[in-house]
C-alpha cells in the first residue's frame, strides 16, 4: 500500500498565550523567538496512521510539504518516524498562496510522485484551522475523499473508514486511490527513535520548484489567491469566576445546572 502524506509546518501551538503575538499592521503572526516550528498536530496523526498501515500492509510512504528551509526539519522528523521519502516544494512563486494555490502545487507534486493508494492529510491545520486544502487537493486530483477519520481499515479492493463526528461515528467504505483526512482520535503519534534519526539524517530531500512541477506561476502565490484577509487581531478574553453553592451537594449541583441552562450552555 503506497501512501503520500501532505504535511504543513506551523508555529508551535503549545507556546504560552503571552508569547503569541500578532502584527495587526502587517496582518501577520509574529513567530516567537527561539521556539522552533512543528508539524501541524493532525498532520502528525496522519503520518502515524500511514506508518501503522505500512507496518500492517507494507508499501512506501512519501511525505510532501510546501515551505521554507526550516520545513526540512519537519520532513526529517517524518523520515525519522518511519516514512521512506520526503519532498520539499519551494519556490518564491508559491509565497502567499491560499488553500487552492497550495492544493494546485501539492496536486502537481502528487502527480509527479506517481502511483499511490492513499493520499493523506490532517483534518485541519493547527494554525488557521480552515481544513480546505485537503478537499481542494482531492478536487484537483479528482479523487474521492473521506474526512475526519478516527480509524482506517484496509479491506479487499478498498478501505473502511470511521469518521469521528460530533454526534457519533459514521462508517464509510471508499475505493482507492482516495484522499483521507485524519483526526486526533485516530492515534498518538510516536516519537522517532535515535536509530530512525540516524537513518533520516542520511536521506536526501529533493527540492521541487514550480517549473519542476509544471505549475504555472500565475496559478499559485499571492496573485492567484481568492481569499482576502481583512483584519488580524488577538482576541481579548475576559474571565469571571463565580461560585455556585447550595445547602447540600445535590442542591449545589442543581443550582449549577439551572445556572448553565439560564446561560444557554446546556
Amino acid at each position: 500500500m503506497d501512501i503520500v502524506v501532505c504535511i504543513k509546518q506551523v508555529q508551535d501551538p503549545d507556546i504560552p498565550p503571552r508569547d503569541f503575538k500578532v502584527d495587526e499592521e502587517k496582518m501577520m503572526v509574529v513567530p516567537p523567538a527561539n521556539v522552533p516550528p512543528v508539524i501541524s498536530t493532525f498532520d502528525e496523526n496522519a503520518i502515524e496512521a500511514a506508518i501503522q498501515l505500512k507496518e500492517a500492509k507494507g508499501g512506501k510512504i512519501t511525505v510532501v510539504t510546501m515551505g521554507g528551509d526550516k520545513a526540512k526539519d519537519s520532513l526529517k522528523k517524518c523520515l525519522a518516524m518511519g516514512c521512506d521519502e520526503a519532498v520539499l516544494l519551494q519556490d518564491p512563486a508559491f509565497d502567499g498562496s491560499d488553500a487552492f494555490g497550495v492544493a494546485r502545487a501539492l496536486a502537481a507534486a502528487v502527480r509527479k510522485i506517481g502511483k499511490f493508494d492513499i493520499l493523506m492529510c490532517g483534518r485541519l491545520s493547527s494554525d488557521w484551522s480552515y481544513g480546505t486544502t485537503p478537499l481542494a487537493l482531492a478536487e484537483a486530483l479528482n479523487l474521492p475523499s473521506v474526512t475526519q477519520l478516527q480509524k482506517i481499515e484496509a479491506r479487499d479492493g478498498g478501505l473502511r473508514c470511521e469518521r469521528a463526528l460530533e454526534d457519533g461515528v459514521e462508517v464509510v467504505d471508499v475505493s482507492t486511490p482516495c484522499l483521507l483526512t485524519v483526526s486526533n482520535e485516530m492515534n498518538n503519534p510516536r516519537l522517532p527513535s535515535v536509530k530512525g534519526i540516524l537513518t533520516a539524517s542520511r536521506k536526501q530531500i529533493p527540492l521541487w520548484k514550480a517549473a519542476d512541477l509544471g505549475v504555472d506561476a500565475g496559478s499559485v502565490g499571492a496573485g492567484a489567491a481568492t481569499l482576502e484577509l481583512t483584519k488580524l487581531y488577538k482576541p481579548v478574553f475576559t474571565g469571571q469566576c463565580e461560585f455556585i453553592t447550595g445547602e447540600t451537594l445535590e442542591e449545589a449541583a442543581e443550582n449549577l445546572a439551572l445556572r448553565l441552562r439560564a446561560d444557554k450552555i446546556i
Partner: protein, 379 residues
C-alpha cells in the same frame, strides 16, 4: 566558528524534549516523593534507542557523539534531574569501561545488552574510606585457580539494585599498585546489596551499598586482557562523565530559570508583577547569563572530545561552572518563588533545590576540580 548543532543533534534534542514532556516531567514529583525508580521509563528509552548514545553502532549503540549527547542530556535533566542522573550513570560509567577496556567477547556479552537498553549499567568506585582519592580503595580481587575472589564494600552506588540492572562494574585492587574493573552480574554468590539509601535529592535514583564477601568470579569477568598499573589508567578514559554531569547541571539550571521567569511574570506584589522589580530582574539576568556561559564551555569540551583533542581541562571547567550554577540557580529560584518556593508540591523549585547539591559532589567535587584545573595551568 559555528555554534549550530548538526541536524542529527537537533533531532535528538527534540526527541528528548518531546519524550521528557510526555513521559518524564508529568511524573517527576511523584517519583521523587515516593523514591520510586521508574524501570518502565528506562525500558521505553531502550525502545527509542536512547540507551547507547555513546556506544558505537557495532555494539548496539547509536554513537551520536558527545555534542549531541550533551544536548540530549540537558533536555532530560531539565525535566527530571534524578532520572536523568540514572541515565547518565548508565551511559557513562556504567557502559564506557566495557567499551574502553573490554575484549571483543566481553563487549558482545555485556555492552550490547546495555546499549540496547535490555540492561541497566552501573559502576562502583566509591568506598567508605575512598571517594575523591580512589587510590585508597580497599576492595581486593585475589587471583584464584578458577578466576577471581572479590572482597570489600562499595557505597553510594547508582543503578546496581534495580530489576533491570546488569550488576556493577567494580573497581578493585588486584595488587600493590594494580587495579581492574570486574563485572559482577546480579545474583553472583557472595555479592550482597544493601537497602536503598535515603537521600536529600535525586530520590528516584536507586543508590545502594554493595558488599562482596569472597565473591567468586570466572577469570573472564576482569575487563580486558589484564589488570592495569595505575588508578589513573583505570579512570582517565571516563572524564567524559564530567561533560555529562555538566550537561545534567545545565538542565537543572535551565529548569530553574524557566520556572522562575514564568513565576516572576505571573506573581503580583505591590500591584505589579515581581518581574518588574530590579532585584528580581538581576537574579534572572544573572541566571540566564551564567547558563549561556556554562553551556558554551560544556559544548566546547564536548566538541573537543568529539575531535579527539585534549578536553580534560575544559571538561573539569565545564563541570565546575555548570554544577555551581545549578546550585546557585536553584537557591535563587526558591527565593524568587518566596514561600511557595519552600513548599513541596505546587511548584518544582523545592525539588530542584534538593536535587542540585549533589551535582557539586559526584564526578569530582568542586574542590577536586579546582585542584585538577590549577594543575592543568601548571601549578
Amino acid at each position: 566558528m559555528d555554534f549550530s548543532l548538526s541536524d542529527e543533534a537537533r533531532m535528538l534534542r527534540d526527541l528528548c524534549r518531546g519524550f521528557a514532556d510526555r513521559a518524564i516531567r508529568p511524573h517527576a514529583a511523584k517519583w521523587d516523593r515516593e523514591c520510586y525508580f521508574p524501570v518502565e521509563l528506562f525500558r521505553e528509552m531502550g525502545e527509542l534507542s536512547l540507551m547507547g548514545l555513546l556506544v558505537p553502532v557495532e555494539y548496539g549503540g547509536t554513537g551520536v557523539g558527545t555534542v549531541a549527547f550533551a544536548a540530549a542530556m540537558e533536555e532530560l535533566a531539565a525535566a527530571d534531574n534524578s532520572t536523568a542522573a540514572c541515565w547518565n550513570a548508565h551511559l557513562t560509567i556504567g557502559s564506557l569501561p566495557i567499551l574502553h577496556f573490554g575484549t571483543e567477547e566481553q563487549k558482545r556479552r555485556w555492552l550490547v545488552p546495555l546499549a540496547q537498553g535490555e540492561k541497566l549499567g552501573s559502576c562502583a568506585f566509591t568506598e567508605p574510606g575512598a571517594g575523591s582519592d580512589l587510590s585508597g580503595i580497599e576492595t581486593r580481587a585475589l587471583r584464584t585457580k578458577e578466576g577471581w575472589k572479590l572482597r570489600g564494600r562499595k557505597i553510594f552506588i547508582t543503578n546496581a539494585g534495580t530489576e533491570m540492572s546488569l550488576g556493577p562494574l567494580v573497581l578493585a585492587r588486584t595488587g600493590e599498585n594494580r587495579f581492574g574493573f570486574f563485572v559482577v552480574p546480579r545474583g553472583t554468590p557472595g555479592f550482597g546489596i544493601g537497602p536503598k539509601a535515603e537521600k536529600l535529592g535525586w530520590r528516584s535514583m536507586d543508590t545502594r551499598e554493595l558488599i562482596f564477601d569472597d565473591c567468586l568470579l570466572p577469570a573472564d569477568h576482569l575487563l580486558g586482557e589484564s589488570d592495569v598499573e595505575s588508578i589513573r589508567q583505570a579512570t582517565e578514559t571516563l572524564a567524559v562523565g564530567r561533560i555529562s554531569v555538566a550537561a545534567l547541571s545545565l538542565g537543572l539550571a535551565r529548569a530553574c530559570l524557566d520556572a522562575s521567569l514564568a513565576y516572576a511574570l505571573e506573581r503580583r506584589q505591590f500591584g505589579v508583577p515581581i518581574a518588574s522589580f530590579q532585584a528580581i530582574r538581576s537574579k534572572l539576568a544573572d541566571m540566564a547569563t551564567r547558563l549561556e556561559m556554562a553551556r558554551l564551555i560544556t559544548m566546547k569540551a564536548a566538541w573537543l572530545h568529539d575531535r579527539d583533542e585534549p578536553y580534560r581541562q575544559e571538561a573539569a571547567m565545564a563541570k565546575l561552572a555548570a554544577s555551581e550554577l545549578a546550585v546557585d540557580a536553584s537557591r535563587e529560584a526558591v527565593q524568587i518563588h518566596g514561600g511557595y518556593g519552600y513548599m513541596e508540591g505546587e511548584f518544582p523549585v523545592a525539588r530542584y533545590y534538593r536535587d542540585a547539591k549533589v551535582l557539586e559532589i559526584g564526578e569530582g567535587t568542586s574542590e577536586i576540580l579546582r585542584v585538577v584545573i590549577a594543575k592543568g595551568l601548571g601549578c
